[in-house]
């Protein structure tokens, strides 16, 4: 067949050309597909395993595909947690020369978990709260940079474990728009739609008997609205107080830090009489600890994982009495003497179960637990062995959860 494919991509993978573009995505042979669980989508979406990793392919109108590709690139550039776009392919034709829909290709987010996997396995109330927290943080971050989502839902979000909590990623930007600044109307609409969609998605799980009857779907939806408003207020409110109450500045910064945000700059103004002070955090961003860890060790981890590892690094530094040395040198030694040996001592076949940073975090946790139990300082390698036997072996594989049997085509509505 004579196809003239147009590939738009920043660094095209030549293997893309070997995929059967002349077949409608819905009919792609099972052996091509990676059996990953799919969210609810209005389009046909399939996952394909490539040498460079798993990609997600979505069939969608040409102009919409280009638009979403550009939006995802922009979001990536301004460091919003979102899936990474690979490219757009147009000019597809089937064997009879019939035009086929364009596709948008994104990288599959490794170790990410769709909500259906998280919510439907005996959901503990804390887990639901954490997922909703993660989504609220994502929504606030998007709104701060001026992104109106237009279709906030659990289906359009992926979750990654971040120590005890989760980090949420935007997956679908089709209905989104970047503005210089969002109006309250846009934000409220997004939040209201998020609430409706989340409750709808949970009602759907309940209808499929995948969700415990006890779960109050409406309360979970309401929790998102509440959490969002709380975060938004903490980040954007102007506060005014007496000059004598300067501790309030520190308290405000602490509160923001505990929510996972850094305060880049505070606008502090004193009134004419000098009796009251107004503060408003100016530049807000998350990810201080993960940036510091990346800078020191080259390890790319989520915020809470990074905080945990940095604590371990600080302990290591104190234990060896190397506080006066250059941080970079100590970090390098910590990496080669503590982090890497720990991860390497996990049997190869089990390493794919969790992201290394999450595994390391859990091993630290486990060590603390058995040290308490045994009333002694359990060494790292011993703790790792115990963790592997007692915890990791019984965990599902999260690198690419095999939620569906190969070839299953359900859920792609």
């Amino acid at each position: 067949m004579a196809q003239s494919l147009q590939i738009t991509a920043s660094s095209p993978d030549p293997d893309l050309l070997d995929l059967p573009w002349e077949i409608p995505l819905e009919q792609w042979p099972d052996e091509r597909l990676a059996a990953l669980p799919r969210g609810i989508s209005r389009h046909v979406v399939r996952f394909v395993r490539m040498r460079s990793g798993v990609i997600a392919i979505k069939e969608i109108g040409e102009s919409v595909a280009y638009r979403e590709y550009e939006l995802l690139r922009q979001l990536g550039r301004i460091d919003v947690p979102s899936v990474e776009p690979v490219g757009v392919i147009t000019g597809r034709q089937d064997v009879n020369g019939e035009r086929l829909e364009a596709v948008l290709i994104t990288k599959h987010l490794q170790f990410s978990l769709p909500y259906r996997a998280l919510f439907s396995h005996a959901l503990r109330p804390e887990t639901a709260t954490r997922l909703i927290d993660a989504l609220a943080v994502l929504l606030v971050r998007l709104h701060l940079v001026g992104f109106y989502w237009g279709d906030v839902s659990l289906s359009n979000t992926l979750f990654r474990r971040d120590a005890e909590t989760f980090a949420a990623y935007l997956v679908d930007a089709e209905t989104g728009d970047l503005h210089q600044k969002l109006s309250p109307g846009q934000r409220n609409y997004d939040v209201d739609l998020a609430r409706t969609n989340i409750i709808g998605e949970l009602m759907d799980l309940a209808a499929g008997e995948l969700l415990d009857d006890m779960v109050d779907t409406i309360a979970i939806g309401d929790a998102l609205v509440e959490r969002y408003n709380e975060l938004w207020t903490a980040l954007t409110d102007e506060e005014s107080f007496d000059v004598g109450e300067r501790w309030r500045v520190a308290a405000r910064i602490d509160r923001l830090n505990s929510l996972g945000f850094d305060v880049g700059e505070l606008e502090i103004t004193t009134d004419l009489g000098g009796t009251s002070v107004r503060i408003q955090p100016k530049v807000v961003d998350a990810g201080h600890h993960s940036r510091r860890l990346l800078h020191l060790t080259g390890l790319d981890a989520q915020e809470n994982q990074a905080r945990r590892m940095l604590n371990d690094l600080d302990e290591y530094r104190a234990a060896l009495d190397r506080q006066n040395e250059d941080q970079e040198f100590v970090a390098h030694d910590w990496l080669t003497e503590v982090f890497e040996p720990t991860v390497r001592s996990v049997p190869r076949e089990l390493r794919g179960k969790l992201e290394p940073a999450q595994m390391f975090h859990e091993i630290l946790d486990h060590r603390w637990y058995i040290s308490q139990q045994q009333q002694r300082d359990v060494p790292m390698l011993e703790a790792t062995a115990s963790y592997v036997e007692n915890v990791l072996r019984h965990r599902p594989d999260e690198q690419a959860i095999l939620g569906l049997p190969p070839g299953s085509k359900q859920e792609g509505l």
């Binding site: 309250p184 609409y189 209201d192 709808g200 759907d204 499929g208």
Partner: protein, 374 residues
């Protein structure tokens, strides 16, 4: 149900000088299907989002019925964005897919069932209510998505390029469905598209926007027969109208060798800014192939013939002495499009003579761009 009024509504984005929507005055009747159409960046989506409460209104106001909603939150405006979310939930029945938002809002069960059944009847989905979405065709799923908006019984439906992510076949099918459904429901609807064919086929009235300014509002027939300016003339109709700038001397426009009489009223309407020139517009279907002897005939050299079975179009170049004439059409600069008898098409390279059917020419001031009434 209600009317919608934009009263000098203006939206200026921070950091820009030119308003994205500039003092829009538009009154939409109760039950009317109004289409906002124009090229990208014309302000059509911004206007819709102002009505939805998603964009601030910097000046002027917006009314739904007698109620000023300029500062009312989106969810309190009693409007529904149709197709905002049409991913269907696989485990829920069609009825639950349509009614779940009412359930969230705490509407009594019996009410929900009644509204869902009414909507299903209009949408021809009654027999599917207790089935799962998996059992539905693509078109039926679209209708379930419409059902979600219908059961909410809003005062106004808003649709922002709802067909843009459908494939070509489903797009034409859904277009017809939306239009006929809207007529049956009689709910005031504001619909945004960049596609003038969509606008002509769906709207009771069309509002054409460009650069944030309303160019013209009227029925599809008005827009086609009496475009108010050169922009609307070129934008509405497919293939697009041929437009050329010509000098007017003693009441006649000189189009190559042809002398085309321009009405006295039109000439009188010219202003100094027009510099004695008009823009003459003529649709491809307003041209007849005539003999060279005809005084109003001008020659066109055939570049290509497009045969569509029921129609045939010549894409050609206007020949003759054309100093100062600036001719363009939907086919590009210096190109004209002529509809010819599909059973008698000229060959490529051939020279044909065409004349504008009397009374079917459109005359605009060259400087003002405005229609000159004849």
């Amino acid at each position: 149900m209600a009317t919608v009024t934009f009263d000098k509504a203006t939206r200026v984005y921070p950091g820009t000088e030119r308003p994205a929507v500039d003092a829009l005055d538009l009154h939409i009747e109760d039950g009317e299907f109004l289409v906002l159409v124009g090229p990208s960046g014309c302000g059509k989506s911004t206007s819709l989002r102002m009505l939805a409460g998603l964009e601030d209104v910097n000046q002027g106001r917006i009314m739904i019925g007698d109620r000023d909603v300029t500062d009312v939150q989106p969810k309190d405006r009693d409007i529904a964005m149709v197709f905002q979310n049409y991913a269907l939930y696989p485990h829920m029945t069609v009825a639950d897919n349509m009614g779940f938002a009412l359930k969230i809002a705490g509407t009594p069960k019996a009410d929900i069932r009644q509204r869902v059944e009414e909507a299903a009847k209009i949408l021809d989905l009654s027999e599917y209510l207790d089935r799962k979405p998996k059992a539905l065709s693509g078109g039926q799923r679209q209708r379930v998505a419409m059902g979600r908006a219908i059961v909410r019984q809003p005062q106004v439906f808003l649709m922002d390029e709802p067909l843009s992510n459908l494939d070509a076949k489903l797009r034409v099918q859904t277009r017809t469905q939306i239009a006929s459904l809207q007529r049956r429901l009689g709910v005031t609807t504001v619909y945004v598209t960049h596609d003038q064919t969509e606008a002509l086929t769906m709207g009771d009235r069309i509002a054409v926007l460009k650069d944030g300014l309303l160019q013209q509002v009227g029925t599809p027939r008005d827009m086609y027969d009496t475009p108010a300016n050169v922009f609307v003339a070129g934008f509405i109709g497919s293939p697009a109208m041929n437009l050329g700038t010509f000098k007017v001397n003693g009441g006649v426009a000189e189009v190559g060798p042809a002398r085309i009489p321009i009405s006295r009223a039109a000439v009188a309407g010219m202003i100094p800014e027009d510099d004695g020139k008009i823009v003459l517009g003529f649709r491809p279907e307003s041209l007849d192939v005539v003999s060279q002897a005809d005084a109003s005939a001008f020659p066109v050299e055939v570049n290509i013939v497009e045969e569509l079975g029921s129609d045939a179009f010549v894409y050609g170049t206007l020949k003759g002495d054309l100093a100062g004439a600036d001719v363009h059409s939907g086919a590009g600069d210096d190109q004209l499009i002529v509809r010819v008898d599909p059973r008698n098409v000229p060959a490529k390279g051939e020279r044909i003579y065409v004349a504008i059917r009397p009374g079917e020419e459109h005359v605009f001031g060259a400087g003002s761009g405005k229609r000159l009434e004849s």
